[in-house]
């Protein structure tokens, strides 16, 4: 089994000669991972995924999927991949069963898989209702059922939670985690909903303006975050607190009636608090800033 479920090397793409949509993307999605592909709208997420699925002709660079070159093994590889790109691709005049039967014939999987896939996404009781009458959330779930139908080794989902209500997002997240944990399915989920991905993925790739800004385990992003952590402080005597902090070697500055202290880990924050209290100051507020993926993300996608 290959180390990488998806591996691109020097992947670049242009829609017009002057417009480089992707530049030198080295995507490495570990086999068995739940990989969050993050980026703001227009960053190049969908273009990358379309290239990985062979929907766009590769102009520069190489793509290997499940250890094999995409270009020469496209059809065989697509048999092992389930995907849903951009808006759900469904036949609006067909029922959910008919929609799945279309793909059951193509994939040649057993007919019982139609019912099983619908059960997995909770759409087993939609009867003869056609997909055109579904809510966006139901369409997303049906698109996921299409992707799951042939029990793929690799699942590529482009913004799968779009249009889902909070309960639907939770269900989708649980389902993806279950698939990853119980069946070992490698899952790549693209999203611009950062909080969504933070609770779901084991690895992240952050893309902005066509370049990959960060890639690795979620834990390493969090570690990177520790070094950049800030604290905001509000005490009974901020000028004196600033003096104490600067004397102790902290990088601190006053701003909008608060103090901002740079590069403080959670252990250091406790010691810092103790030092201020011991100096006779009352600490009204001590707030860590930039601890979640969202702040890290904005840092990474910034110019």
């Amino acid at each position: 089994m290959s180390e990488w479920a998806i591996e691109t090397c020097g992947l670049s793409h242009r829609f017009t000669p002057t417009d480089a949509v992707l530049q030198d993307i080295q995507l490495q999605v570990p086999t068995g991972s739940l990989y969050g592909f993050l980026g703001p709208n227009g960053a190049g997420k969908t273009t990358t995924l379309r290239l990985v699925l062979g929907l766009l002709r590769c102009q520069e660079g190489s793509i290997r999927v499940l250890g094999e070159p995409l270009e020469s093994r496209r059809v065989a590889l697509l048999r092992r991949i389930g995907s849903s790109i951009e808006s759900p691709s469904l036949y609006a005049h067909l029922s959910s069963v008919e929609n799945l039967t279309v793909w059951q014939k193509v994939f040649g999987c057993p007919a019982r898989r139609v019912g099983e896939a619908l059960h997995q996404v909770g759409l087993h009781d939609t009867g003869g209702k056609v997909a055109g009458q579904f809510s966006l959330g139901m369409k997303q779930r049906l698109a996921l059922a299409v992707a799951l139908l042939h029990q793929p080794e690799l699942l590529i989902l482009d913004e799968p939670t779009n249009g889902l209500d909070p309960h639907g997002i939770l269900e989708m997240r649980d389902l993806l985690i279950r698939l990853n944990r119980d069946h070992g399915t490698t899952i790549l989920v693209s999203s611009h909903l950062l909080s969504e991905v933070e609770r779901l993925v084991t690895h992240v790739g952050i893309i902005s303006r066509g370049t990959l800004r960060f890639q690795g385990p979620l834990a390493s992003l969090a570690e990177r975050n520790q070094a950049d952590r800030q604290l905001t402080l509000h005490t009974s005597d901020n000028p004196r607190a600033l003096e104490i902090l600067l004397t102790s070697g902290w990088s601190a500055r006053p701003e909008q009636g608060r103090l901002f202290v740079q590069g403080v880990s959670s252990i250091q924050a406790g010691a810092l608090n103790q030092q201020l209290v011991m100096s006779g100051l009352t600490v009204f507020e001590l707030t860590p800033v930039g601890q979640n993926l969202e702040h890290q993300f904005f840092d990474l996608i910034g110019d």
Partner: protein
């Protein structure tokens, strides 16, 4: 490979369930037979004379096919082909089709096969309709002494059907190419209707074979003795097959080389 084609073909057929295709075939195919039925019933007093003719069925077939060959078939082929390929554009499903484990050849040939099957179904409806339009009037109004006993020239009629079917193929190829390339269905329909009108304008000239939208009409005129067909460089069947083969290859080349597939 054959199995992949067969499964892809079945999948394509499922996509057309509950679509307008069935109604289009039924309405388009029974349009002329319905008019013929109405005409026969309206002129029921003439039925006994018609039935006494030994060539009732042949005359009935020839009269009916005039408008079918010149108008109905070209327009129906334009509509059928466009409708079948529009299923993917309308539902934004090309990307899912192209991300499925099928070669470009399998996808292309399965869709083309579905169009050809729809055309065949249209011929079945037309022929059944024409038979009913010939048989029903005397049964419905009780005139003419029952269904005409004149022999039905099955072999000759089936041979003519086969000719007309082949002569529709160039329209299938042109419309298939256009419908694959253009997202907006008005483009293939507009070009198809314009091509058909142009072919009508040219039908009485010696250049009528240059616009392949009315080979069926030209064939009808030749077979009924209204045209000699001497202007044709070869037989209409050969022209139709050649045009179909060339345009289908061009269409496939354009389709398979498309850089953006959804």
């Amino acid at each position: 490979m054959l199995s992949a084609f067969f499964h892809s073909f079945l999948s394509e057929r499922i996509k057309l369930r509950r679509s307008l295709l069935g109604w289009l075939i039924l309405c388009g195919g029974s349009f002329v037979p319905a008019i013929m039925l109405a005409v026969r019933i309206r002129r029921q007093q003439q039925l006994p004379n018609w039935h006494r003719l030994g060539v009732f069925w042949e005359k009935h077939w020839i009269e009916s096919w005039e408008s079918i060959s010149i108008m109905i078939l070209p327009l129906m082929v334009v509509l059928l082909t466009t409708l079948i390929l529009q299923v993917e554009y309308r539902n934004n499903t090309w990307k899912q089709v192209h991300a499925s484990p099928q070669t470009w050849g399998t996808i292309f040939s399965a869709k083309l096969a579905v169009v050809l099957l729809a055309l065949l179904q249209l011929f079945v409806v037309i022929n059944l309709g024409l038979y009913l339009a010939g048989a029903l009037p005397s049964l419905l109004v009780g005139a003419g002494g029952g269904i005409s006993s004149s022999p039905i020239p099955w072999i000759r009629m089936l041979a003519r059907d086969a000719n007309y079917f082949v002569e529709c193929l160039p329209i299938v190829a042109i419309q298939f190419l256009l419908a694959l390339r253009f997202r907006n269905f008005l483009v293939p329909i507009g070009i198809g209707v314009a091509g058909w009108i142009l072919s009508l304008v040219l039908i009485n000239t010696s250049y009528n074979f240059l616009i392949p939208y009315n080979y069926t009409g030209i064939d009808y005129l030749i077979s009924t003795g209204h045209r000699s067909g001497q202007n044709l460089p070869t037989t209409l069947g050969t022209l139709a097959c050649g045009t179909f083969a060339v345009l289908t290859l061009v269409s496939y080349a354009l389709y398979s080389r498309q850089a953006d597939k959804g």
